[in-house]
């Protein structure tokens, strides 16, 4: 079935032009989840989230309930929301931040109560200027409404939330880099171990870092129960999820779909989603989970949108960004542009990533510009292999964070699927597509 009748959980309000206002929010059940949560014990709220089997919606897909249970006991703990959405072609958190900021804040407040954290930070990507305004406005309203601050809704629980602007750096989406950034430093990912901020996080204190979409699910989960959420989707992939669909489709956009029950083909072709490929051309390749993910070909269109289904097929749902490239696409150019991105955004701490991304970008550029050599194709794979040994999936890591091993994904995919096209580029000194 292409389109299931699953409820819209995080996009229910977006049909309204004023979805970002407190008036609309309250008229559509806003802050009822928080009110209900405050009548429960914090443990009971956390148990609902655990029962929901909600996988983190940032990119790694780590179970949110488990992340919460790992929070080290300490008098001072923090909750940090990762709203630094920067994975290319991902524009779903952007939507939630701009169009339903109260839902995000309510989610933060519910999570803070469940975790008994009294200070939360919402880190919003700096480029989301309107989003920053909307969240700040919503937070001001939440304080005035009594949902945030001292003794919220008369519950005796007090919580402060600070909206923190980023300043333009992809790497700050990596949670330890984000914490460094929040501490006023360069966004350098921290050396692991410790692996989880739940043990050592902001200012060295135990910290939960959750994604915007993850948080935005909280009000619904508390109101309807974790079981109801877990009843949607299938297997490990519970609930609905936002997919940001871009590239050569008629209707690019962010769509909330039920996991597993929906396939890539449904998302690309269903009239209510992508509406088909532009000019009725054929799909040449799709990027299934942001540019860090290995690509799929048209033969994989019938794969379900599920964490394990996509993982077992050799890629990942990652950030929920699906980019469609049709038959007119130059794959050398696509791989070059993605690699240029990584070369620009490498933080520079680790040699394989810092140097490797730059060399790969230059070699791809020379092929794209018609100055490539035949041996360049294997040179690209060789350099990639030095960043992520074995070029396997999931990748081996030679660097502090996963930015490094993400670099080879598009190069390896492009050469694997379209080696002839690379060689033609070299031979003809130009794009064979024209």
């Amino acid at each position: 079935m292409a389109v299931t009748d699953a409820p819209r959980i995080v996009t229910a309000r977006l049909g309204h032009d004023d979805s970002h206002t407190l008036e609309r929010y309250l008229a559509t059940g806003g802050y009822e989840g928080l009110r209900k949560a405050l009548t429960m014990t914090p443990e009971a709220v956390a148990a609902e989230v655990d029962a929901a089997s909600l996988l983190g919606r940032g990119g790694a897909g780590f179970p949110a309930g488990r992340k919460w249970s790992m929070l080290r006991k300490d008098p001072v703990t923090y909750l940090v929301v990762n709203g630094d959405e920067s994975e290319p072609a991902t524009f779903k958190d952007h939507l939630l931040i701009e169009r339903d900021p109260h839902q995000l804040i309510e989610g933060v407040l519910i999570a803070a109560y469940a975790l008994q954290v009294t200070q939360a930070f919402v880190y919003v990507r700096g480029e989301f200027a309107l989003g920053l305004e909307r969240v700040t406005q919503a937070l001001n309203e939440a304080y005035d409404y009594g949902a945030a601050g001292t003794d919220i809704f008369g519950s005796g629980f007090s919580i402060d939330v600070v909206v923190h602007p980023g300043a333009g750096a992809y790497i700050c989406g990596e949670e330890t880099a984000l914490l460094e950034s929040l501490e006023g430093k360069r966004g350098f990912p921290r050396i692991k171990p410790p692996y989880f901020p739940a043990a050592v996080g902001l200012y060295g204190q135990p910290t939960v870092v959750n994604n915007v979409e993850t948080m935005s699910n909280m009000p619904w989960i508390v109101l309807h129960g974790g079981e109801a959420f877990a009843g949607l989707g299938e297997g490990r992939s519970a609930g609905t999820r936002l997919f940001a669909l871009s590239g050569h489709v008629r209707r690019p956009g962010t769509y909330e779909v039920e996991m597993v029950k929906t396939t890539f083909r449904d998302l690309v072709y269903a009239p209510v989603y992508g509406g088909g490929v532009l000019g009725d051309r054929k799909v040449k390749a799709i990027i299934p989970g942001g540019v860090s993910a290995p690509w799929f070909g048209p033969e994989q269109l019938d794969l379900p949108l599920g964490q394990d289904e996509v993982g077992n097929a050799g890629s990942m749902l990652g950030s929920g960004a699906i980019t469609v490239m049709d038959s007119s696409t130059c794959m050398v150019r696509a791989a070059w542009r993605i690699t240029k991105f990584f070369a620009r955004e490498s933080c520079g701490q680790c040699t394989p990533c810092r140097e490797g991304s730059g060399w790969l970008e230059r070699v791809l550029r020379r092929i794209e510009q018609g100055e490539g050599r035949e041996e360049d194709v294997d040179l690209l794979l060789d350099v990639s292999d030095n960043i992520a040994p074995g070029l396997q999936w999931p990748p081996q890591q030679t660097t502090i964070c996963v930015l490094g091993p993400s670099i080879p994904s598009s190069i390896h995919s492009a050469i694997d699927m379209f080696r002839d096209e690379f060689l033609l580029h070299v031979k003809e000194g130009r794009c064979p597509g024209g």
């Binding site: 958190d93 009294t118 480029e127 945030a148 600070v162």
Partner: protein, 215 residues
Amino acid sequence: MTHFDAETAARARELVKLYPEPRSALIPLCHLAQEQDGWLRPEAMEEIAALLGITPAEVRGTATFYDMLHTEPVGRYLVSVCTNIACLLGGAEELLEHAERTLGMRAGGTTSDGMITLEDAECLAGCDRTPCVTVNHRYVGGLSPLAFDQLIADLRAGRRDGEVPPHGTLVRVRRNGGLRAGKEQIASERAATADAQAARARAAKEAAEAQGGGA
């Protein structure tokens, strides 16, 4: 401390108070300085350093990591053209070439009248309207070359000044008051954090000394 005007200085002090540790206010303060000056002047970095109890070099060291913090002057309108994958598929390279040709400069440059800075941007998360363009970080949607020329003409004539905030201003909505969850609680938490950090620092020092002694 005289570089910040009275209002900016007052807002700066409020921002510092929002965080358990002053240095966390560094990026917000840099945005604030840009709101006053249009870019991050050395004098502003010195004042930020003084407010946070760190050195100007530490402020610069952080600021230079981030694309949005400009340690060199930028034009009155920062026009960012995304050329990343989704926009590339939507004709972004062609739009950027057009922009460079009509503005007579390469991406990264500023027009001689100081009005327009053109940026070849990474993904701006506006991938449903390609090629995505922003002006002073406000989305103006996917643009054709013709629409781009109109945008530039409008900007030069000041016709977009209602929707596009002034030079350097990121956020026009301000936080309505400071922290409210209870001063005593926050004070005790901050003391506990400081204690924990001191203990960790001591442990690290002792470990380093023990290691040094063994070698």
